[in-house]
Symmetry: C2
Subunit: 341 residues, 2 copies
DNA sequence: GCCCTGAATGAGAACGTTCTCATTCAGGGC
DNA sequence: GCCCTGAATGAGAACGTTCTCATTCAGGGC
């Protein structure tokens, strides 16, 4: 395999110094005379020269590589976020290395070390709980995906979950529902507590009584949704509507309802959160709160680009993007409970 | 921001040459005396030295970066393949840059140039039709995702779609179905023609007549599945079962069937292909042919690693992984058509 | 005619590794 | 005591850029 041509080969063929070739390659056209420029370009074409960005990175300490650390690309929430990050960074010539932390602090730490070793220019990360302490030594701009709670000093991008929950619950209320259940995610994690708080606030605002039987906890799985729904529908006085902490739970809940011969939405309304692709393909299609997934990715990339350009001159920003109610087929006004077959 | 320590700083502190530090850092412990080794390790710890892999890459011409080019990470088929690639390459210390070609040859070409410029060590790609000619100048090992037809000279990993289609159709036949429709993908693309051929072969093998009305073409979208199903169910003599070219089409078909008040699977059986996550969350859950997505990614990464290690000494390999029938709730023996409500 | 200015270009160090040779030196054989 | 061997270590070039200064030189002002 013949060696690839370098800037020196081009310089020799064009009869100029490598400094001049570098000027042409890096687009400082104004500084090089027309005539010289042409000679250089011709030589480049003739040799098929391509700039070696590794060598450039060594000199400039800039790699144009960014790491994106997410829990799992296989989880339907993340591909769109990833796509938003990729599309935005690519237009500025950055390449994105996506890694999956699997919510595992040890894996995450391994990737943080990779970021340092490979001299990546920046990091966008949905952090595990443990990572805060490691960030200190990163020496590289970091943008957080998520609330950013517990990570002072970094830009962050998240969605406005609190008001989104209010929108969902208000919608169910406006349909006439008064007995509304909550299937929350794992109570140990902060964001779910926030959903619970929003739920309590909603009840208070509408003078509704909090019925502990209507609040079920579980993780974010299909199974959790199925189990929770079985529990709710077995109550002596079941809810007429269910708000699930995410779409996967909601779809699990719908499966159980269908299996127990409850008709959705005639006998029970269900509303989810996230608006993953599946939400539109379930039967019935799921009413849900759409999180701006792609935009979250775009915005995170923008914050990082700004930080890369201006460094610490910029104030820390915490961007909260609005969510949106998407009404599909899983919600309707409540029916008389007695009409159940 | 203080400059990061280099191998020279370590050498100075440990009182040895940088060659010796390099030997320790690169794990050639046997060559360095115990005593010297300890001094070097202590110095590394004290300074917090971390090897600069950019500088190493310049010298060794090895970047430990791999590019993975897929159509779109947002398409539910690809995240699992991606995960398989990432998990496998990471254990060999490679980082993976995932890019989305969007089936666009110009985008793809842009990424191929990036691979060259950044001196990536290898490429795993699901190629657009146009790319064959560009591969010549890549000077880097390439593994193809897909059939590899039309790209002689490269390793490839795909699934055995032909026999998978036979398995699906045989299953429907074994349930008693004799009037089986095919919703094919775009006929312009080779792999769908292959599905059509398998369908025709199945009919011939079982002495069934080919009814052109039972073959509908479309693209791979939900919409296409919906339209095709409407067409099929409006026939004077509708099919009792439908084989869809992928799960998205199948789910679209189920939605239309439900909207037209056909009961699945009692009145119409539907079978898909791919086994994306959604297939298990639809109502009813979709019977489908599971493609080994994660394994495809793993195998592609393995082929690439082998090629990176042994170069042209290895023969070209075309791996075909078996598919598997996953029976869920969308298929059943055919009912009397007259029992339709 | 001389000097000054600024445009155009070149020389060469530097980035932080790796890797080839060269050098040092202890210990054993005679 | 001398030589040889091999283990341990060091010197310094090289990878291909970028970038700072230095140099060249044409043209204009006086």
């Amino acid at each position: 395999m013949p060696k690839r041509p370098t800037i020196v080969d081009v310089a020799k063929l064009a009869g100029v110094s490598k400094a001049t070739v570098a000027r042409v390659v890096n687009g400082q056209h104004d500084i090089v005379s027309q005539e010289t420029q042409k000679r250089v370009v011709d030589a480049i074409d003739k040799l098929g020269y391509e700039r070696n960005s590794i060598a450039g990175s060594l000199r400039t300490d800039k790699t144009f590589m960014i790491a994106l650390s997410i829990p799992d690309i296989t989880n339907p929430f993340w591909p769109e976020v990833t796509r938003g990050v990729q599309d935005t960074l690519e237009t500025s010539e950055y390449a994105v290395v996506t890694v999956n932390s699997d919510w595992d602090a040890a894996r995450e730490l391994k990737y943080l070390r990779m970021v340092r070793r490979n001299r990546f220019d920046g990091l966008i990360i949905n952090p595990t709980d443990a990572s805060s302490t490691y960030f200190r030594d990163m020496e590289v701009p970091i943008v957080l995906l998520g609330s950013g709670n517990g990570y002072a000093g970094y830009d962050s991008v998240g969605s406005d979950t609190e008001s989104a929950v209010q929108i969902a619950l208000d919608y169910l209320y406006s349909l006439g529902h008064r007995r509304i259940a909550l299937i929350a995610g794992l109570s140990a994690r902060r964001k779910n507590t926030s959903r619970y708080h929003s739920y309590v606030a909603f009840l208070a605002r509408n003078q509704l009584k909090l019925d502990p039987e209507l609040v079920v906890h579980g993780d974010f799985s299909l199974q959790a949704g199925q189990d929770a729904m079985r529990q709710l529908l077995s109550l002596p006085h079941p809810p007429s509507a269910v708000f699930a902490a995410n779409d996967i739970i909601a779809i699990g809940a719908m499966q159980t309802a269908a299996a127990m011969n409850w008709r959705i939405p005639e006998q029970i309304s269900i509303i989810g959160m996230d608006d993953i692709y599946m939400a539109s393909t379930s039967l019935p299609p799921l009413t849900t709160i759409a999180k701006p997934k792609y935009e979250i990715g775009v915005e995170a990339a923008r914050l990082l680009l700004a930080r890369l350009e201006y460094g610490d001159d910029l104030p820390i920003r915490a961007v909260r993007l609005p969510c949106e109610l998407v009404v599909r087929g899983s919600t309707a006004p409540p029916a008389e409970m007695t009409s159940r077959l």
